[in-house]
């Protein structure tokens, strides 16, 4: 049973260098790391110290707010370094791999005769809980609050989109095991968002509640899908997961081991041979980057995630906890003489027809990281509403977040959104407003005031 939902507002950005359907396996990296920024608003409490040895699946730290919420090692080896910043805040935890990949063996509960609490406890104990996110606030789900539903987006609409059907075609049985497990926790309120062209998934997932989406980005964002299927009302909580993370949970349930392997696309205009790699969460990117050809390697930006909502990493950095994509962009740190005059520099694309680039809208284009202007006072030129496919007024919500009026933020729908939903607004703003940052600050503010 599936329902077709057409998203009309939005914008699909076509960038050169989308990944070819080819997967390369790489040997285990020498080091792995946690980037604590991946776990927004959570303060880590260390269980192990530098020099301690770990197996894959050994807890390394837990969340200060809930000691059952454990974070486990993706690889066997030793804890090499705990990188701290100002006021001893932990930034990274680096683990040296010993190459053996020994793992902790778990005994999964039997689905039919376990209570929901037992199912949840097992996920917490095995260290896969951080893969479950919640809205409101777009943070790791609170295991003490039962959600009204789980939503999973099964396609990517962001620029340089990855092909989930291709990436996950060999892991369908694991995904189904994971889905069944989660389905039990929420008593059947589990929704999958599919694209109408995904025939394989439609056939394979016919036993679950599925909705078919069509339309431009951000139709693949889970927030947009929730809004159209089963919107979050005040006081409600919805969990979201990435499809490949469900495969990790499925693997844990079928085989009793935590194995956070995932297919990651390395893409972007400077990448000469964009393709997929079989990697593990937290892997050092060094070996990956040496396996692709990149133009002018010293002047590019590596982004964990997509180019709208991902974050910048160093070329010797690490793969994030949640991404299936490493985007590469040329740094746009050059001046352009009279570049602000319409129809000059037509290679720089625009949603306004002030550049001839719109004539080639179906072609993949080269983008760089230039701001193409300076930040200015908020002048509402009206582009926001036309690319924001929710019954929410984005500009007014952003303004209330800047002011910090919680009551108005609630009324305008702050609990339904996450920063990634505002990626296109960052992109298209003529005043160069940092909408995602403002929304994140607004969510954090409410979280701190209400918890």
């Amino acid at each position: 049973m599936s329902k077709g939902i057409r998203i009309t507002k939005g914008l699909s950005i076509k960038i050169k260098g989308s990944p070819k359907n080819q997967i390369e396996n790489l040997p285990l990296a020498s080091t792995y790391a946690f980037n604590l920024n991946d776990f927004h608003l959570h303060v880590p409490k260390l269980i192990l110290r530098e020099g301690d040895s770990v197996k894959r699946g050994t807890p390394i730290f837990y969340a200060k707010s809930n000691e059952k919420l454990k974070f486990v090692s993706p690889v066997s080896g030793t804890v090499k370094e705990i990188v701290r910043g100002e006021r001893r805040k932990i930034h990274n935890i680096i683990i040296d791999s010993d190459g053996n990949d020994n793992f902790v063996k778990h005994k999964p509960p039997v689905l039919d005769n376990s209570s929901v609490q037992e199912l949840i406890d097992f996920l917490l104990e095995a260290g896969v809980w951080p893969l479950i996110n919640q809205r409101p606030f777009d943070i790791i789900a609170d295991p003490n609050i039962s959600p009204k539903a789980i939503h999973v987006s099964c396609f990517d609409s962001s620029p340089l989109a990855v092909d989930y059907e291709f990436m996950l075609k060999d892991r369908l049985s694991e995904i189904k095991a994971g889905l069944d497990y989660l389905d039990k926790i929420v008593n059947g309120e589990l929704f999958l968002g599919l694209k109408s062209c995904q025939e394989l998934f439609q056939k394979e997932f016919s036993n679950y509640k599925t909705n078919l989406f069509d339309g431009p980005h951000p139709s693949g964002n889970v927030g947009v899908q929730i809004h159209h299927v089963n919107p979050i009302n005040s006081g409600e909580v919805v969990w979201t997961l990435k499809l490949e993370d469900i495969a990790v949970i499925g693997k844990l349930i079928l085989k009793g081991e935590y194995l956070p392997d995932r297919i990651v696309a390395v893409t972007g205009p400077p990448v000469k041979n964009p393709k997929y790699f079989n990697l593990r969460t937290g892997a050092n990117l060094d070996s990956v980057i040496n396996n692709v050809e990149i133009d002018n390697k010293n002047d590019v930006r590596f982004i964990n995630g997509d180019v709208l909502s991902g974050y910048k990493v160093n070329s010797i950095g690490y793969l994030g906890h949640y991404n299936n994509k490493l985007s590469v962009l040329r740094e746009g740190n050059q001046y352009r003489l009279f570049g602000w005059i319409p129809f000059i520099n037509n290679t720089v694309p625009s949603i306004y027809k002030t550049s001839f680039s719109w004539l080639f809208n179906n072609k993949e284009k080269d983008y760089d990281t230039n701001l193409n202007g300076e930040e200015r006072a908020f002048v509402a030129t009206g582009e926001m509403e036309s690319i924001f496919p929710m019954d929410i007024y984005p500009m007014q919500l952003i303004k209330e977040c800047m002011i910090g009026d919680i009551e108005k933020m609630e009324k305008l729908g702050i609990y339904e959104v996450s920063p990634e939903d505002f990626g296109l607004i960052d992109y298209s703003s003529s005043s160069k407003i940092e909408a995602q940052t403002i929304i994140r600050q607004g969510l954090d503010y409410i979280y701190k005031e209400t918890q």
């Binding site: 001046y335 027809k353 002030t354 701001l371 193409n372 002048v379 030129t381 305008l412």
Partner: protein, 383 residues
């Protein structure tokens, strides 16, 4: 990259901790006029659209050009037709330029000086909005207004109309219309009546320089003007408002590039046309029975609805709100024309009034969405 090197050298004393640090906004305005800066995205989306406010504003200026050039020609034409001598198009343009270009210069010099001072004082970048406002102000003035009045009106509009509210993006009223309204009420003899619309009309006996709406309000016949003349703009009026054809070219540029809101423009035309038709049916006075279609092409209606009502800062900001706002501007414009003989042209006051109500319109549009959300939660609790 010679210019770049020179600029980089010039920039040094303006950088942080250097002598001229305070004046950085002024230097920055100059530098970014020449070059799109090398800034890269730091947070948020890593890629950004080519559009910025400079490009938005320059697009509006390009859209204004046909009306401005025709306005200059018409200024000369209206003046020279009073004289017995024959003249060429070039003569008209030369005469018009001698009148209009000094006004534009005064507007830019006074306005930009104030903008730069405020930018330096507040330590923010100079906003590009004034490039449009500064051109609009002379375009909507009568040609014979003394230059010092242009200067005073500009100063009033920028300081009281814009900076007092916190600068670009915060103002409630359209700054260009604020300037015109100021001049209109401060110097009424230079801004209304039947002798200000044609250059030096008062010096030539027996030539009428009244606008069509002025004639109608006074109960005179307007038979001397054909529809084509009204449409092309060969009629007395404020400098650039007369030619509906040229305004339409501008409207096309704004809508095509996506810079101007078509919703406001279409809404305005609909509102005015329907109101005009209703009055045509009533027909109690000359302005009521004035053909609705001609209402759209005389006076400043077309210019106002295309270039003034669409100002993104002072207009309604939601898509539904823009429709309502546009329609109301159109209705009010015709209402003021018909019912208030003291102000034969209603578009300025209609837009200013709707500027004031735009936040209210948006409030109710947004409130509808808020209500839908509340209702959803409520249904849930009761079921």
């Amino acid at each position: 990259m010679k210019i770049r090197e020179i600029l980089d050298n010039l920039k040094k004393p303006f950088e942080k901790g250097q002598k001229l640090e305070k004046f950085y906004p002024a230097f920055d305005a100059f530098e970014t006029f020449l070059f799109v800066p090398n800034h890269t995205s730091k947070t948020g989306a890593h890629i950004r659209d080519a559009i910025d406010l400079k490009r938005v504003m320059i697009t509006v200026i390009i859209a204004l050009m046909p009306a401005l050039i025709y306005g200059i020609y018409n200024t000369g034409f209206q003046y020279l037709s009073q004289t017995p001598d024959s003249f060429t198009t070039l003569d008209a343009i030369i005469h018009g330029s001698s009148k209009v270009i000094p006004m534009i210069a005064v507007s830019y010099i006074v306005g930009l000086s104030i903008e730069f001072l405020f930018a330096i004082w507040r330590g923010h970048q100079v906003n590009e909005g004034y490039l449009v406002t500064g051109l609009l102000i002379p375009m909507i003035m009568p040609v014979d207004i003394p230059l010092w009045m242009v200067g005073v009106s500009v100063a009033f509009a920028v300081i009281i109309g814009k900076e007092a509210f916190g600068g670009t993006g915060m103002n409630i009223l359209n700054p260009a219309l604020t300037a015109r309204a100021f001049a209109f009420f401060a110097y009424p003899t230079y801004m209304s009546g039947n002798q200000v619309w044609v250059s030096e009309a008062s010096n030539v006996d027996g030539v009428s320089g009244e606008t069509i709406l002025g004639m109608l309000a006074a109960g005179n016949s307007t038979e001397q003007f054909g529809i084509m003349e009204m449409f092309i703009g060969n009629i007395p009026g404020s400098i650039a408002e007369t030619s509906t054809l040229m305004v339409l070219i501008g409207a096309f540029i704004l809508i095509y590039t996506g810079v101007g809101s078509w919703r406001i423009m279409v809404g305005g035309v609909l509102g005015a046309a329907i109101t005009g038709m209703l009055f045509n049916l009533w027909g109690a006075n000359a302005l009521m029975s004035f053909d609705w279609a001609q209402h759209l092409i005389v006076g400043g209606f077309a210019f106002g609805i295309v270039f003034m009502a669409t100002d993104p800062v002072s207009a309604a900001q939601t898509q539904k709100g823009k429709w309502i706002y546009g329609i109301l501007v159109g209705i009010l414009c015709i209402l003021i024309r018909v019912f208030n003989p003291a102000y034969p042209e209603g578009v300025m006051l209609a837009i200013l009034l709707m500027n004031v109500f735009a936040p209210t319109i948006d409030h109710y549009v947004i409130e509808a969405s808020v209500k839908r959300r509340e209702k959803r939660s409520l249904n849930l609790k009761t079921s």
